[in-house]
Symmetry: C2
Subunit: 256 residues, 2 copies
């Protein structure tokens, strides 16, 4: 039965999509069946995996607002064992449309339930917000993986995200846990980065992934080619980091 | 009569808040009266200028949802000539509450009108979204300054932002113009960055600021001290970049 992991942080640009694409691809390359759900109207997970508008007919928006079955929206990617429910700008509309819908926080959960059985892992890439779409993702998820940069604004936002997670745990999704905190875009030359990453252990009591994702040009270039870094440049530091992260995630879940 | 400039881009982490804080501070140091409005529930512009929760009683949320007069929420900062309307996580609520309010896109405009006469420039720091709060900022603004990183996802989002701006220009705010595109966190060692920044001129016809903001550790450290980079380390590349940007903005507006 698939484990659902939301990748969330309301702070913008901390590497949510980069983590979603590359972790999902690495886990798929380790022979697990994986689904990536793009829950961001920017559609970066969709384009970062090489899908263009002509490649898909239905998006997550269609599943949320137009009653399309999730199985109809699922598309294969270039990565074996990795499929995606794509998104585009239309998803912005769902945030407003959901406001007056009964059980508005449980819509994505009911969509995920329909396909959960076919996958080992389902990752949900969230937009940088604590609005209704992100709340839907946290209600649908078993755990939440939180990418953070070791920078002031990113760490400042961590406690607010934890507050939101606590609210959801005490009501709409009591089984929600934190999968772990992932340090991204780490640049060991920056004095501040090593100082702050030490601080993280004081701000949260959650699991902090031992694998750190370093700042790496290949990671940044890969989405332009529509490929995860593992297919773009398998020998890069970025690829090694994400493969290590996948091992760590599977080991932590007793799944190797 | 104050010029209102929204700093917006739905892509997360491109340097909106960093630009808002440091450009507002630089323009204030050039003897203009400046107001910064923090329209992001993360409250990064507020904390980045050194304000803590105990330093203010009212926020932008109170002006939007509780009828508090903007003049009551305005706070001084450590920078002479720079004041701020602070924000905190409560602003998340405004996004949902505004949905069923008549003329919901014009609420911030009516708030700004009340104080516009007291300032030369008003900057609005937007959250990473195209939702109702950002739409309010674009309706209240005379122009919009668009920070972009020369990276794939950031440039991909530019055309969607332009679409939203066009929609607003054709209806709710016909006078809205693009103040300019600002390239941020530029790292000349990255092959991709110089390649893509050349592309920007093909994607948009708008003014592209000649001043480029380089990636600079001091810019990243300054908000931890609650100061703009000009007060944190006046001799840094970051300070020079933002001072040059302020000169370019004032010159472009015939205001030097
Ligand atoms: N380890 C890394 N090394 C170099 N560049 C990176 C790395 N991780 C992410 N990036 C780049 O940083 C930018 C921000 O990352 P990304 O878009 O994944 O963040 P995000 O949290 O998904 O953003 P948003 O809040 O807009 O959804 C992207 O251009 C991405 O290519
Ligand atoms: N020129 C720069 N050099 C180094 N670091 C920078 C620079 N500009 C911004 N940063 C850092 O990058 C991160 C993202 O910048 P910032 O928070 O200003 O972006 P934003 O667009 O406001 O993000 P959000 O979408 O969450 O509102 C911050 O940690 C900031 O300190
Ligand atoms: Mg993203
Ligand atoms: Mg910001």
């Amino acid at each position: 039965m698939g484990k659902v992991i939301a990748i969330a942080n309301q702070k913008g640009g901390v590497g949510k999509t980069t983590t979603a694409i590359n972790l999902a691809a690495a886990v798929a390359l380790l022979e697990k069946k994986v689904l990536l759900i793009d829950a961001d109207p920017q559609g970066n997970a969709t384009s970062g995996l090489g899908l263009k508008a002509d490649d898909f007919e239905y998006t997550l928006y269609d599943c949320i607002s137009n009653g399309v079955e999730p199985s109809e929206s699922i598309k294969d990617t270039e990565v074996p064992n990795l499929s995606i429910i794509p998104s585009d700008i239309q998803l912005v509309g769902a945030e407003i449309e959901l406001v007056n819908v009964p059980k508005r926080e449980f819509i994505l959960q009911s969509i995920v339930e329909k396909v959960k059985g076919r996958y080992d892992y389902i990752f949900i890439d969230c937009l940088p917000s604590l609005g209704l779409i992100t709340v839907n993702a946290l209600v649908a998820a078993d755990t939440v993986l939180i990418p953070v940069q070791s920078e002031f604004f990113s760490l400042e936002g961590l406690s607010k995200l934890k507050d939101t997670i606590n609210i959801i745990q005490s009501g709409m999704n009591p089984r929600l846990e934190v999968e772990g905190i992932l340090i991204t875009m780490y640049d060991k030359r920056l004095r501040m980065a090593s100082l702050l990453s030490g601080n993280i252990k004081e701000i949260v009591t959650d699991y902090i992934f031992e694998t750190v994702i370093n700042r790496n040009a290949k990671i940044n270039e890969a989405p332009m080619m529509g490929k995860p870094v593992l297919l773009y440049d398998a020998a890069s530091t970025g690829s090694r980091n994400f493969l290590n992260l996948a091992y760590e995630l599977l080991t932590k879940n007793g799944d190797t």
